[in-house]
Amino acid sequence: MYKYDTYDQAIVDSRVEEFRDQVKRRLAGQITEDQFKPLRLMNGLYLQLHAYMLRVAVPYGTLDGRQMRMLGHIARKYDRGYGHFTTRQNIQYNWIKLEDAPDILADLATVEMHAIQTSGNCIRNISSDQYAGAAADEVTDPRVWAELLRQWSTFHPEFSYLPRKFKIAVIAADEDRAAMRLHDIGIQLIERDGQLGGRVFVGGGMGRTPMVAPEIKDFITAADLLSYVEACLRVYNRYGRRDNIYKARIKILIHELGADEYRRQVEEEFALVKALGIDPPQAEFDRISAFFAPPAFVADDGVAADRSDPDFAVWLDQNVKPHKQPGYAIVNISLKPTAGIPGDASADQIDLMADLAERYSFDELRVTHAQNIVLPHVRTADLYTVWQALDAAGLAPANLDLISDIIACPGLDYCSLANARSIPIAQKIAERFADLGRQRELGELKLKISGCINACGHHHAGHIGILGVDKKGTENYQLLLGGSGAEDASLARITGPGFDEDGIVDAVEKVTNVYLASREDGERFLDTYRRVGLDPFKEALYG
């Protein structure tokens, strides 16, 4: 993984001291809240429903054990003993004191972490495939490019005040595990005629006006990729709407211009940008690549995992994925126990995951956009030991990609923008479908819940999506069907009038019953929906 050089460390350290001074001045009354708010937001500090909330960046979701343990330390020392992992591959703390914030950032800086650019109209944390470096289907490690983009975008002077926030995802496999086409820019690294380059998709996103990004460039060579991305942003920075926050995202610009016209302007700009020489020299590229070199895998001993413990066997089938290296596997740790809060982990659980990473996964962990954690490189021979440790800590729900592996935003329990609660709905659905056999019978089913139109819970991309709305002061839940954030990206459609808290749970069950009654061999829920369409589901829901 990438290690800070002296410049990186100096930047982060000086930002901590700068913020310490700003907080001191705010607490002493030398600056007003209006003056202070943009400064705290630049450091990831929001004011939420119950307290200040701190959002910490986890670049492309990759962490080592020391960093993970620091996240646990912060949860324990400065928060209420837990942290919340988010769909942006970050972590949020809900109960932060302003007076502690500088110390927290100082602690984070000791492990090469910070909260810079986790808010504001800048380029946010770059997201990527949580299986990067471990997946058999990748053409290269996408994190090398995510890291390059991170360095390029951090404090980029031209892109610090964009019309709106900006999110980039990089993947390097055909299977899209990062919802790439639902980002402002999505890059899929590919190889063509033996040459590395990228497909570039621009203008995706959820929120108020959801869109799947159109392809703007079918191939740009690696040597030109950064210049091309810079050109994409320049056109947006110049013409993106600053007069209306609801129309300020790049997706609106591209929708209004048309993809062809946007592309034409980007190409024109690219010709100018290319001459500036911002693409990194090979030596810099090699330097970064070296940090992502494969770990020292040992030869496969050919021993298969012992499946005699049935609970372990189920977990193995559901949560463990094949690794590119024989003798290794990718372990998915589900943060979705039945009565739990999707994405929450206690300080002790965070410490345990850090320990396991150090001992069994070459000191690496990943945060996934589905609010789970990955140990990317576990020896097959160690899987049982790892599972036992996870199970003892409540970290072994065997529900990856099943109906109870729910993405849910914090909703009205924590978020000041929310219209309705999300977490209790997730819990009720998980309880209704608690039987794992029933869940496995339903197969892959991605259920995603947001507490308002901002779509932090990705409801537009849910096979089943739920959106909380405010109906005359009471919580109401709309049901959406048919979304996907994967390589077959699509937007979910609203089925009809919303439901109350218990009604939405029943509605989900009805929808699964229609699926069970209509599915053909090998079909996932989404496949059946796409084949039969919305009508049979509507019929079952509204009669």
């Binding site: 004011l47 119950h50 209420r80 109960w95 302003l98 809060i341 924590y414 977490i423 819990q427």
Partner: protein, 98 residues
């Protein structure tokens, strides 16, 4: 009735105007009638509160109850973690939130 609420500046805790100072308990909140805005300005100026705003509420025998669910959640704590609420030991505490 109208209540004035906000967050304590240094800690971020949710606080309620009692008529002379701030309390963490909505039960202590006073009716600010039409004085909310001016109290808010003065208290923000003195850095005793952050992001103060006035809400509608109802008086009950147990004390004032915010009209909107969002402020009821703020008053007690998250509905999904009783242990993190202001009254973790009181199983009835949340009955008025939802």
């Amino acid at each position: 009735m109208k209540l004035l609420t906000g967050n304590d500046l240094p800690t971020g805790d949710v606080i309620w105007w009692t008529g002379e100072s701030w309390s963490r308990h909505v039960e202590d909140a006073a009716d600010v009638t039409d004085q909310g805005e001016s109290i808010a300005r003065a208290e923000e100026g003195a850095r005793r509160v952050n992001a103060a705003y006035v809400i509608d509420a109802t008086a009950t025998p147990e004390g004032p109850r915010p009209a909107h669910i969002k402020d009821r959640v703020r008053a007690l704590g998250p509905t999904v973690r009783p242990d993190l609420t202001l009254k973790p030991a009181d199983p009835q505490a949340g009955s008025w939130v939802i």
